[in-house]
Amino acid sequence: MTAPVDHAAVARGATEVLRVRVRRGDGLAAFAVPRRANQTVLDVVTEIQRDQDPTLAYRFACRVGMCGSCGMTVNGRPRWTCRTRVAAVAPEGELLLEPLRNLPVVKDLAVDMEPFFEKWRRAHGYFEPGENPPDDFAAVLPDSVERREADAGIECINCGVCYAACDVVTWNPDYLGPAALNRAWTLVNDVRDRGGAARLAAVAGDAGCHSCHSHMSCTEHCPKSLSPTFAIAGLKRETGKAALRRLWRRG
């Protein structure tokens, strides 16, 4: 996680300049940015855009780790840049900033998230209330197995870091990816949802949960410390059980 920052040393100007390289198209553009106390990677990109090159394209919104829009590849690792301190990832004072992997680049550090969210739809990553609304509120006990399973994955902020870290997405562009499957798993465990069977069918295909190779990259890189790998494993078990139930009925 975050390494301790020697604020006093930075304030004294111990490491004066960050050497920053930014991937722009097929090439790299070099910048020098003053090093500051508590500086985040997003601060660095913003400073470059405001003071050195206003044509640099990147995306951010909340700056506090809630919106999931500032994902970039920082020194080879996908990260949320608003909560990534420079001191933790660039001890030598060098930063290589690139767009997220596995997504089309719009310009510079901004990627097109459309394929990412399209896969959420394909994985039925939305609540299905069913045809007839229930007469009363559903009782969901906080300690129930389903509630705890849903809780484990519900804090996803859709930043795309896991999607960029996933090797299977690189190999098979149709693969639904860790975030969409994680969302599907939270809904499979939502006792109010009525679209379970269709959702399990949607995630059981060739580009679904069974394509996961358990590399654990999504779990290792998730900035919210979620475990899409376990969610995908849960989907593997549930789709397996659903297939056995279908076989049993036929027999």
Binding site: R23, R101, P104, T170, H213, S214, T219, E220, F230, K236
Partner: protein, 117 residues
């Protein structure tokens, strides 16, 4: 709009584990037909089996045997890792666990050599 050119991160023990797991599985799958051929020669008499086994008494086959033992151990250890992740929700320290799996497979290979097989 074009696809990005960002390269995959370099240090990925989970990737290495999956690669070794699959390659060892392929090696074992290729070995199985050879194993059945050897068993099949036994059906044709002891002489045929001995003749076939005689062909295996060379350095290349012995080295391949050691490799297969290592592959079998690696496949089992890495398979147990996957089971622990997927059934026990084991949030592993991937680099250490994968290193342990590979070390175990080489230890089994060493035992095989020391046993004089």
């Amino acid at each position: 709009m074009r696809a990005g050119v960002t390269q995959a991160p370099h240090r990925r023990p989970g990737y290495a584990a999956a690669l070794v797991h699959r390659l060892s599985g392929i090696a074992l799958a290729l070995f199985l037909p050879m194993h059945f051929i050897a068993l099949g020669t036994a059906l044709q008499g002891a002489d045929r089996l001995e003749t076939f086994l005689g062909l295996t008494h060379n350095g290349f086959v012995r080295t391949a045997e050691w490799g297969l033992v290592c592959a079998l151990a690696a496949h089992m250890a890495l398979g147990l890792r996957v089971l622990a992740i997927e059934w026990l929700s084991y949030r592993e320290r991937t680099a250490i666990v994968v290193s342990g799996c590979l070390a175990t497979s080489f230890a089994v290979g060493l035992l095989f050599l020391l046993s004089g097989a």
